[in-house]
Every structure is written in C-alpha cells, then in structure tokens.
C-alpha cells in the first residue's frame, strides 16, 4: 500500500507515493530525485542526512516520509539562488571546510538552521548546532570558523 504525500521542497510543491514505513531520506533521493541529501548510517547516528523540516534540523533517515505531508523541507540543493551562493557556501569554500564533501550537505543545513534562528551565534552556539554531525575528514575547526564567518558576512550584508 502506498500513501500519497505532498510537501514543499526548497519552495517548490512536491507530491510522491510512498510505502508505509518509508523514510524521508530514501523518499527524497529515490522518489523525488533530490540527491543533495546523503546517507551515512541510515540509523540516526551520523547527521549526514540532516534536512530542515519547517526550519528545524531533522535526521531524514529516521523521519517517516508520511509525517512530512504538508511541511516545508529544505535541503542543500536549495541553498543557492541561481548562480549566487549562500554565505555559508562561500564561507565553507574560503575556510576549506570540506575535504571529501560527504558530510557537507548535512553540515550546511545544520548551520543554516542555526543562522536562521540566531544570526549572531557564539562559537559555543555553532559547536552545539553541529554537534550531531560527524565529519571524518576535515576536522571541526575549519567548519566552526566557516559558520562564524558566514554569520559575520550575513550581518555585514544587512547592515
């Protein structure tokens, strides 16, 4: 039995038929075709699959797709506006905050959730915001610095 669900993905309306028990990660990747979301453990432990559901960071691998009907979902694919990169993306580039890049989409979304809520985070705020995201390559310092840079840049552009 498949259930029809409808949600907004990066501002666009999306509809899908999902199996009972299907998770949001597989639904986004295999049915909707948003490959910007990555899976690393499929059991809610690594943070790689982080997306924003109504602005809140969630692990898509352990989120039932059916529970997302009617919500607004953001993934890393929706971060840039056309060719214009999000300040977080620029800061990640400039700070060398990615090596293999596999954790990056989840990291970016965890950071975006923070900056959307708190445009002037402290270092500790950043550490807490990405504490559920594992990066095995880069080390967390460049990532923390990138998020702080992005926050400053954001503040400057609005000043």
């Amino acid at each position: 039995m498949k259930t029809p669900i409808q949600f907004r993905l990066n501002g666009e309306d999306v509809a899908a038929f999902v199996e009972g028990g299907a998770n949001l990660l597989d639904t986004l990747r295999e049915i909707v075709g948003d490959l910007s979301v990555k899976g690393g453990c499929w059991q809610g432990t690594c943070g790689t699959c982080t997306v924003l559901i109504d602005g809140v960071p969630r692990l898509s691998c352990i989120t039932l797709a059916e529970t997302c009907s009617g919500s607004s979902i953001e993934t890393a694919a929706g971060l840039r506006r056309g060719s214009e990169l999000h300040p977080l993306q620029i800061a990640f580039m400039e700070r060398f905050a990615a090596q293999c890049g596999y954790c990056t989409p989840g990291m970016l979304m965890a950071a975006k959730a923070l900056l959307d809520k708190n445009p002037n985070p402290t270092r500790q705020d950043v550490i807490e915001a990405i504490s559920g995201n594992i990066c095995r390559c880069t080390g967390y310092e460049p990532i923390i610095n990138a998020v702080l840079d992005a926050a400053r840049e954001h503040a400057r552009s609005r000043a």
């Binding site: 990555k38 060398f96 970016l108």
Partner: protein
C-alpha cells in the same frame, strides 16, 4: 595561516616554487558546497537490483549445510549467489604485484574464519526484500576453536586460521615466517649500556568509519562491458582485482570513481565490486552492493592491531646504543595488506635515530579477527607511537630533556642507518628546533645551534669529548659492514655561504642568498642526488 620557514636550508633552494606556499582551492570544492559532487551512489538506473550478503556469525566454524531454497522463492529475489558461482573464488589483493598467495574467498566455501565473513549473496528488487529473504536462509555450523591473540596464534597447538598459511604467519619470499633486521650486536651493547629499558605497546584495531560506506553499482552496458560506479580509493587496483575474480579481461570493465566520501585507507580493499559485477552478469541488470554502517564496522577492514616490544640500551650521556624490537601485526583471518605493512615497519625501525646496534623481528600473524588493511601510514604509525613513547621513557630514565634526547640521537647527514643506507637530507634537528621555539620549550644553547648537516667530532657538544665513554659497539662487529662505530661524522664540505643560519630569530630573517640548484634537490634522495 601556514608559515614557511625558508630561512632553514635556504642555500639549497631556489625560491621558484609556484604552488607550494600558495593557497590553492580544491577543484571539487564548488561541487561539495553545492551538494552536486557525484558519489558512486548518486547515479540512477532504472530497475536497479540490490545485493545483500549473508555473513558468518561465528569467528571460526565449519559450514555443515546451507539451505537457501526458501530465500530463493521469497518475493523480489532475483538470484542467490553461492561460492560456486564465483569464477575465481580465491584472491589476495597484492597478487597483482606477485606478493603473497591467494588466500581469501569472495564467498566462504566450507569454513568461515572471522565474524562477518561473506557466505552467500542475495540479489533482489530492494534492499529490504534481500534482507527479508536472508532471514529465510538456514545454515548449520560446527564451531571451531578460534584464536584472537597474535602471540597465542604462534604457540604450538594454536588453531590454524588460514589454510594457505597453516602456521598462522605470512610467508616472505616463499620461506621466511617474518621480517628480520640485524645491525651490529644488540646483546653485547645491552651488556655495556648504563640503562636497559623494555616495554610493551598494544594497539587496537581502528575502523576508518568514512561517512560514505563502501559500495558500488555494476551496470551491464550495451557493448557487453560492465560499467562500475564505485567508492574505491584505488580505481585500477579494484578494476584488476574485480577482473581477476570474475575471470574477465580487464577491458570488459569500465570503472568510474574518484569522488570518494572519505577513505583513509579503508576503501583500498575492493570489497564490493567483484560481487556487484558478478551479480550484474548473472542477472543482466544493474546491481548495487552498498555496505550498511554495521557491515562497514564489522566487515570493512580496520587498521590492524599491532603488539610491539621495544628494548633500548642507553648511556647516561644520552646516546642510545642498542634498540631491539619484536612486533606482531594482527592481519586477521586473511592477508589483505598487512604483509606489506610489516615491510614498511621493518623499513622504519629504529625510527629517525642513529643507533649502532639494532635488531628487529616482525611477524604478520593470522587470527580469527576481521582482516586488517591500510590506514593512514599503516605499518609505521604504530611503531612510531611505540618508539616515541619509549623515547620519552628513555629520557626520563637518564634524566635528560626528552626533546634534547631526540635531537642528540637524531639522524644527521652521513649517518649509517640500520638498513645500511646513508642518511641524507636529514632535518629532524631543525624540525625540533622550530617546534621548541613555537612551544616555548627551553633548549640549551648547544641544542639551538645543532645542525643536521654537522656531526661534529664532539657529538653536538653535549659533553666534553674526554668525558664521553668509549664507543659502545663491541669489536665483534663484522668488518665487512660499513657501520659507524662512533658518533663522529665527517664534516661535510660546506661552503661558507652554506653555513647553517644561526638559531632562527623571530621574526625570521629573509632567506640567505639562494645558491644555485633547484629546491627539489634536497628531497630527491630516492635518486641518490646529493646536495653539493
């Protein structure tokens, strides 16, 4: 930002390096931050099938019987792959370079030798269907005695793990059960040493835990070839290994990879491609074989666990006159790359120190644990950890500053290494000087002036020559070796312009006038190039 200390060895380098010292953006960075980099699993195929592998729950057991009839009839199952389906069901990774004997099956035949060893593949329309079918497979086992400790595995009567190497040790050159290094006479030197210190170091296996697990997708192409999208770190290595196991000419395989979600050595082993290709050939459909996180941890090879014993003979003036090492590398049930790690370890002993008497015995041992593999400097990392811990203990034992103790014993140009190669282009002393400066670690004047280029008859001026004990190496040393028997070294012919700069001031002075000769020269010791 990085700081480049160009004042050191300035006379040996034209400052004509174009890339070094300049920040350079990764070519894949834009893809990473826009989440458009394509990993192997970001390729989509219609009618993709999924391969899941049934694994041994036992560390060592004989397989009495396998009943997969119910699984074969389960919904969604397209094919069961058994050991007999694998064209060449015995392989060792380094057979590609004629090193070692084929010892590892892709699917176990009669015996499983570690917990997690693959036994049976199930190809189905979804991972879930494959897993549900797997629950229907009935296997009966006769558990066998297992051995998990490297030294236990070498005792007489220990269970034999790997029938290709029944004595539980890898075989070098077809006859040697370990790697051996002999230089000088350690026993005689221990007898003369002021202090003899021995200790034991035990490493744990370490899982690489890349955020992207190992996996691949094999897709039959219309031209008869198979295209393979893979997470491998070693594309051609994997291609050749997969070709061998599938008894295919390698030009029938087209491997696509390079975007790897973290590897660290754990994606060198060609763990998924051979069976994914076989499944694609048997079904004619694209097949994905992706490790779950649990499989990555249990079956993905870890860094090997090494047990290392180090015994040092030290003089009160700070010289190490003997070092003896005994090490056991836990290869797990099969060879993979541990045999090679042992050779790297042997090549690294006794560390970057000039020691006139060295002896080492290093074993690659089979146990009923997950086979080990490459990981970031494997073979060297553990022995370095052990050596540097030992160096600290040595220094404490003779009441010397640990950094000065290292500098005193560091290789300098012209020293004879235990491998009977001359040390060239040494820089440990200079590294230690910069590290001390950064850490504000006080060094005595003579250590701040020390140079890798100058041995100096007075052995770096630690003590009066007159107070130095007689050379510690006994006269028994065979005259045929060119081993150094004292710490005196010939003063290299250094032109006045090339005199090493004084202790690095802060901020660093501009580099000394560049001498002719390219900067690469210092580092080309592989080709035997020597600086003037």
């Amino acid at each position: 930002m990085l700081e480049f200390r160009k004042d050191i060895f300035a006379d040996e380098r034209d400052d004509n390096l174009l890339e070094i010292g300049q920040p350079t953006q990764r070519q894949d960075m834009l893809g990473h931050v826009t989440a458009t980099s394509r990993y192997y699993d970001d390729h989509r195929f219609a009618n993709l099938l999924h391969l899941k592998v049934l694994r041994s729950p036992h560390a060592h057991a004989r397989i009495r019987s396998i009943d997969d009839s119910a699984a074969a009839r389960a919904p969604g199952v397209k094919r069961i792959i058994r050991a007999a389906d694998v064209p060449v069901n015995l392989n060792t990774l380094l057979s590609l370079m004629q090193f070692g004997k084929d010892d590892e099956p892709s699917l176990a035949t009669d015996v499983v030798r570690y917990k997690g060893e693959p036994i049976l593949g199930i190809v189905a329309t979804s991972e879930r269907a494959a897993l549900e079918a797997m629950a229907l497979v009935r296997i009966s086992y006769d558990p066998l005695p297992a051995v998990f400790d490297v030294e236990e595995a070498l005792k007489p009567g220990a269970p034999s793990v790997n029938p290709t190497y029944p004595k539980n040790t890898f075989e070098y050159h077809g006859k040697y059960d370990h790697q051996k290094l002999r230089f000088g006479d350690v026993d005689a030197a221990f007898a003369q040493a002021d202090v003899v210190l021995e200790d034991r170091y035990q490493m744990s296996p370490i899982e690489h835990a890349p955020t992207e697990t190992n996996g691949s997708i094999a897709v039959p192409d219309t031209n008869g070839r198979i295209v393979v999208y893979t997470s491998t770190q070693a594309l051609f290595f994997s291609l050749d290994t997969a070709a061998k196991i599938n008894a295919l000419p390698s030009n029938q395989l087209h491997f696509i990879g390079g975007t790897v979600g973290g590897g660290f050595g754990g994606k060198v082993d060609t763990m998924t491609e051979p069976l994914a290709i076989l499944a694609a050939r048997l079904t004619g459909a694209p097949v994905r074989y992706r490790f779950s996180r649990h499989e990555e941890m249990q079956f993905g090879s870890p860094r090997g666990a090494e047990r290392i014993y180090i015994k040092d003979g030290i003089m009160r003036d700070g010289r190490i006159i003997a070092r003896q090492v005994r090490a056991y590398f836990d290869s797990g049930a099969y060879t993979r790359l541990s045999s090679y790690a042992v050779i790297k370890c042997a090549g690294h002993i006794p560390g970057p120190y000039t020691i006139p008497n060295v002896s080492a015995d290093i074993y690659c041992v089979f146990t009923n644990r997950t086979p080990a593999t490459a990981m970031r400097g494997f073979g060297v990392t553990a022995i370095d950890f052990a050596i540097e811990c030992q160096m600290d203990k040595d220094a404490v034992a003779i009441g010397m500053d640990p950094l000065e103790f290292r500098m005193l014993n560091a290789y300098r140009d012209g020293d004879m290494k235990a491998h009977r190669r001359e040390a060239k282009n040494c820089a440990l002393i200079e590294c230690a000087q910069v590290a001390a400066e950064k850490a504000q670690w006080p060094l005595r004047d003579e250590f701040r002036r020390m140079s890798s280029r100058q041995g100096g008859a007075a052995r770096a001026g630690v003590t009066d020559r007159s107070r130095m004990p007689a050379p510690a190496v006994p006269p028994r040393v065979p005259a045929s070796t060119t081993q150094r028997v004292t710490y005196e070294r010939p003063m290299p012919a250094v032109s006045p312009a090339a005199t090493p700069p004084p202790p690095p001031p802060t901020p660093p002075q501009p580099p000394a006038p560049a001498a002719s000769g390219h900067g690469a020269r210092r580092f080309s010791s592989v080709f035997g190039t020597r600086r003037r």
